[in-house]
């Protein structure tokens, strides 16, 4: 039981670390695309670790299953959103090269 809790703490802690990294990247990186890159990566890993940490704590199979689905959906969303935002940045640049 204690072992499980330690695992959860470690994984959630790792997740928090990646979220921290993502936020720092979002705030500190100099241009939009690198910020985007940092954010997507860190976000994904952070979310993944948190889900991983919470899985052993889930009270029933359905909840665990939902956790996994949430994680998959976040993966998909992050990948798509990352691409769309990157595309959008390119589009804005083309329209207004000064920006």
């Amino acid at each position: 039981m204690i072992l499980v809790d330690i695992f959860t703490m470690a994984a959630v802690g790792a997740g928090m670390f990646f979220f921290l990294a993502g936020t720092v990247g979002l705030l500190r990186f100099p241009d939009t695309l690198s910020r985007l890159h940092a954010l997507t990566k860190a976000d994904n890993l952070g979310f993944g670790f948190i889900v991983l940490g919470l899985l052993p704590q889930s009270p029933d199979v359905l909840s665990g299953l939902k956790l996994v689905v949430v994680w998959l959906l976040v993966q998909l969303a992050a990948a798509t959103a990352g691409q769309l935002i990157a595309q959008f940045v390119g589009l804005e640049r083309r329209r207004d090269p000064a920006a």
């Binding site: 985007l36 889900v51 935002i85």
Partner: protein, 93 residues
């Protein structure tokens, strides 16, 4: 354990909250949208942490919906923009 999870949720809220600074600074709409994106995933994670901590499994459903719609705003951002070809084929001034 429960305190740890609540604490993690609070910390995560703070982190994503810091991301709001990017929403305000911008400068590009994409930057602002990223902050919203971070909040979508961060919010989902917070919901999961609270769900586990409180034992109210229904809160997972909120994370489910947030994750499902996480890409929505980003998709909507790329909807027909002024200055480009509009869906109906008429160029806007």
């Amino acid at each position: 354990m429960i305190d740890f999870l609540y604490g993690a949720a609070a910390l995560l809220l703070l982190l994503t909250g810091l991301g709001l600074a990017r929403m305000m600074w911008g400068p590009a709409p994409a930057d602002r949208m990223m902050a919203a994106q971070l909040l979508g995933t961060g919010g989902g994670a917070i919901a999961l942490l609270i769900a586990t901590a409180s034992g109210i499994t229904a809160i997972i459903d909120i994370a489910l919906v947030l994750a499902l719609l996480a890409a929505f705003a980003a998709v909507a951002l790329t909807l027909g923009e002024p200055g480009t070809k509009q869906p109906d084929g008429q160029a806007n001034p």
